[in-house]
Subunit: 399 residues, 2 copies
């Protein structure tokens, strides 16, 4: 379960109500006309997931592989990486995932040390099929591992791309397995298309539950059961000049890559010239509490009042660790936290921080996941995608 709350300080007048109504109709229209395809990925990707599952079970090479290397950048890797980072700790016996994103010589060399050719499945992901970083890294992989993509090593390769792209043509020509990204799903909205579904399914993750969560969120939203998304989009749009920055504080280390995905989605979708020719956009910043809270909190409170703040927290982690009942001589003043769990400590900091920010009159909203499971993450992904679309509509930009 995810709960959403906000304490926005504003008055919703008729004009805002009517803008929300218009935005809802516009997004409904985009869904029904198939202008944007991400809404239905929760269902549309089920057959892709099943196909990938079947492939993983039957293909001899995939069966023996223990590592998946995803070659892709931006929207082609960030979402997949975010999900891998969140659930990795739960699954010890699934395939390892490595991401080759930046053609960074040091990072690349470090990762190469971890790859054993005979055990590695390479998945090349590029919507256009010719992303320069991705194809250059792919070439280096071919050279380094003498990858006979036209012959005996072709089962070590999968391509994920748009239909009829140059990468798709390449894959078809040589009989390399490929999966397609729907044309009406933009790169940064593509995590629940083949882009994320195929590598995560083959790795062994419970993709079905993620897709279920996504479908649930979409259904609830279009049945007017998640109107807070509409309100948040309206609030952010109305106050775009006053608070152009949205800071997301995630109180869980494993959500760090998720915040990177959000920053990308938000920045690239909303930073655009609007229909009146004006520069428009909301600047996203991702932080991890409590680590970053020590520094950034002060900036939020004492710095310019140009920020809204979103707190994401998890109520229960599966691994509870309690601060032991130890009293250290001279450091007894920290004993008040003894017996509480680490998560209660973090949670307490999150709540205290939130309250002090609210007291300053800064606009805040909160997202609480009861547990860190696949369904909740599917919902959270769709929440952010819907929010981004709605902000775009209300800001008058084409996301």
């Amino acid at each position: 379960m995810i709960t959403f709350e906000n304490d926005f300080i504003w008055e919703v007048d008729d004009k805002i109500n009517s803008a929300m109504k218009d935005a809802f109709e516009k997004i409904l229209d985009e869904k029904e006309k198939g202008i944007s395809g991400y809404f239905t990925l929760g269902n549309d990707s089920l057959p892709i997931m099943e196909a990938a599952q079947a492939y993983a079970k039957t293909n001899a090479f995939v069966k023996k592989s223990d590592t998946i290397v995803v070659i892709g950048i931006g929207g082609s890797s960030l979402g997949t990486k975010a999900i891998d980072s969140i659930f990795r700790y739960k699954y010890k016996n699934i395939k390892k995932m490595l991401f080759l994103e930046n053609p960074d010589e040091i990072d690349f060399s470090e990762k190469m040390e971890k790859i054993v050719k005979e055990k590695t499945l390479f998945i090349v992901v590029s919507k256009s099929g010719s992303t320069i970083e991705t194809i250059s890294i792919f070439k280096e992989i071919i050279e380094r591992f003498s990858l006979d993509y036209a012959g005996e090593d072709k089962e070590q390769l999968i391509a994920i791309t748009d239909e009829a792209s140059v990468l798709h043509q390449f894959a078809q020509y040589y009989g390399i397995k490929s999966y397609l990204i729907p044309k009406n799903v933009g790169g940064r909205f593509s995590v629940l298309s083949a882009v994320g579904v195929v590598p995560l399914t083959i790795a062994g993750y419970d993709v079905k539950s993620i897709l279920e969560g996504a479908s649930t969120m979409v259904e609830r939203f279009f049945n007017a059961k998640e109107n807070h998304i509409l309100k948040k989009a309206a609030f952010l749009s109305v106050y775009k000049k006053q608070t152009p920055i949205n800071v997301v504080f995630s109180y869980a280390n494993c959500l760090e890559d998720f915040t990177k995905w959000y920053v990308q989605l938000w920045g690239e979708s909303l930073g655009k010239i609007d229909k009146h020719g004006n520069n428009t956009g909301l600047t996203p910043i991702g932080h991890i509490g409590s680590v970053d809270q020590h520094s950034f909190l002060q900036l939020i409170m004492q710095g310019p009042r140009d920020k809204t703040v979103t707190f994401i927290k998890v109520d229960n982690f599966e691994k509870e660790i309690k601060v032991p009942n130890i009293s250290l001589k001279f450091i007894e003043k920290t004993d008040y936290i003894n017996g509480y769990s680490f998560n209660e400590l973090i949670d307490g900091e999150c709540e205290a921080t939130k309250e002090s920010i609210i007291k300053e009159g800064i606009n805040v909203d909160g997202i609480t996941l009861d547990v860190l499971n696949e369904k909740n993450i599917g919902k959270l992904i769709l929440y952010y995608e819907l929010l981004t679309s709605l902000c775009g509509i209300m800001l008058g930009v084409n996301t």
Copy 2:
């Protein structure tokens, strides 16, 4: 060598010149009166480094240990972690470093799996000596590993803290090795004090060269040979309302933790109520090129014009990787980059991005490291510390 360039679009009038002169005098005064102690750490920390080196060579436990666990948060860990992340690839035979920062149950549990008590040195870092996250994690470590801190395991522990803090008293009482942080060095300016110097020296890094780089930068600055720092601080202060956000794009993955250190330094030092009672501050954002460039660039160009952008790049990495001369059927249009190195590809993107941003009239500056060595990183750390102090002076806040 580091080179700095800027293309700020502004006119420096007498008022700005006089503000720069005043700021220079004020920072000189802070240095000479010892109000702030970070300026001289390049020299002051040499004896600490030597002591730590001697300790590492003679102490039986430290000699046999292969892992250092740093328990600390914010200013007590970010800088050390940044340096470890930058140079880790160069040294394969030094001690492994793990950082326990956030009391995050999943992250903590994952890291615990990597720790073998008999081979691990625990370093507790807290300026105040009673940071709640740090001491709580320390207690859990004591419990989990049955760490007899008062008796036979005391050699597995080092404390780094302010003189006479509760942690210092604790260490002294039980005869636990401790190193002190100078009182006049703030937490977020403390990376080159015992905070970073002790763990990095014991791990096996070339701390001497980092300190040398730091000293060089300070000396050059106070001899008026790095006046661009003063100019950048003046520019950012004068245009604090127009461009309150500074985005740092580092074109090297291993600088990611460095940008986190910068975000902390900048945010916490400059986000403050100024001497006139106004909310003041510059919002820092750290990104990695070319990964984040794909999304954030559009926001910078088409979004609100509230940002300055700093590009950090490295001319030569030690590991050159060239895009092989492979032509993939149907994807031939990517062949123009064949034969160029990964770094040339990234560098080309950096330059193209910079040019297109400059063309839009957005203010940009560049920092180029010829190589990624210790001396350059020492300089870069001091560059950012000096810049932060100067911005603080010019914004009228107490950093």
